[in-house]
Amino acid sequence: MEEVKEQVISLPRLGEPAPAFEAATTHGVLKLEDFKGGWLILFSHPADFTPVCTTEFIAFAEIYPELQKRGVELLGLSVDSVSSHIAWVRNVEEKIGVKIPFPIIADLSKEVSLAYGMIHPGQSKTETVRCVFIIDPKQIIRTVLYYPLTTGRNMDEILRIIDALQTTDANAVATPANWRPGDMVVVPPPNTQEMAEERLKQGYECVDWYLCKKKL
């Protein structure tokens, strides 16, 4: 019971520094700080040599070039060993012809999984669920996604979130529902009545003072 409590307490939250780690991976020992200055997607999968995870790894490998264009690295994780990860990625390359270009953490001790709240006992007491942590260049957690064991992740949504976060940071705007690059963005709501009145004269596309959009 104590163990379950601790797992819940350690769920990281948006806007907080990502928990530091040093972990064995398929690319050697890596620390979180090795990724500083760039974006990082840390994601967990339940287990190597399982069907949904295999489709996800292929999909992550497929979007990796697009992520690199955006300055984003990928880092996978499960509680399997480095040897198991190596055997699995070699199998995926041999059977499916897809090379997995990013490192995978072998979290046998579950240190990283617990620090990031990746084990949800209601789903599995031993495996990590499908988590996605988007960590910015200052190593602040900017997005957290959790998927159940039975549902593979949507790569379009992950790319869309990266585009939205990077657009938001670069332009001090927000993005509306279903936003895609090139769509209009939302101007942050005004804080004062004066700003609200000025806003209506600024040539934005406004439904009313609190909902204004502009093109970038």
Partner: protein
């Protein structure tokens, strides 16, 4: 270890990094640019090369050691 084999010799990426250091002190960002390796790989690789005595860290930069030079000839 990704950059140093169990027998203490540098792997292909380790040799790449050591060769990039042969021209003098270099920060990881510069080594990443020279080698084309991702920055995270260079940071962890230089750490391993230092632990193996093939490179030395001086503040935020690295230099190759005599042992490192000998192994990249």
């Amino acid at each position: 270890m990704a950059c140093v084999s169990p027998d203490g010799t540098p792997t292909e990426s380790g040799v790449q990094m050591l060769r990039a250091l042969r021209s003098g002190l270099g920060p990881p960002e510069e080594i990443a640019k020279d080698t084309g390796l991702p920055l995270f790989r260079v940071r962890s690789g230089l750490r391993e090369l230092s632990q193996a005595g093939l490179a030395n860290q001086k503040n935020d930069e690295y230099e190759i050691t005599e042992k490192g030079v000998a192994l990249t000839k």
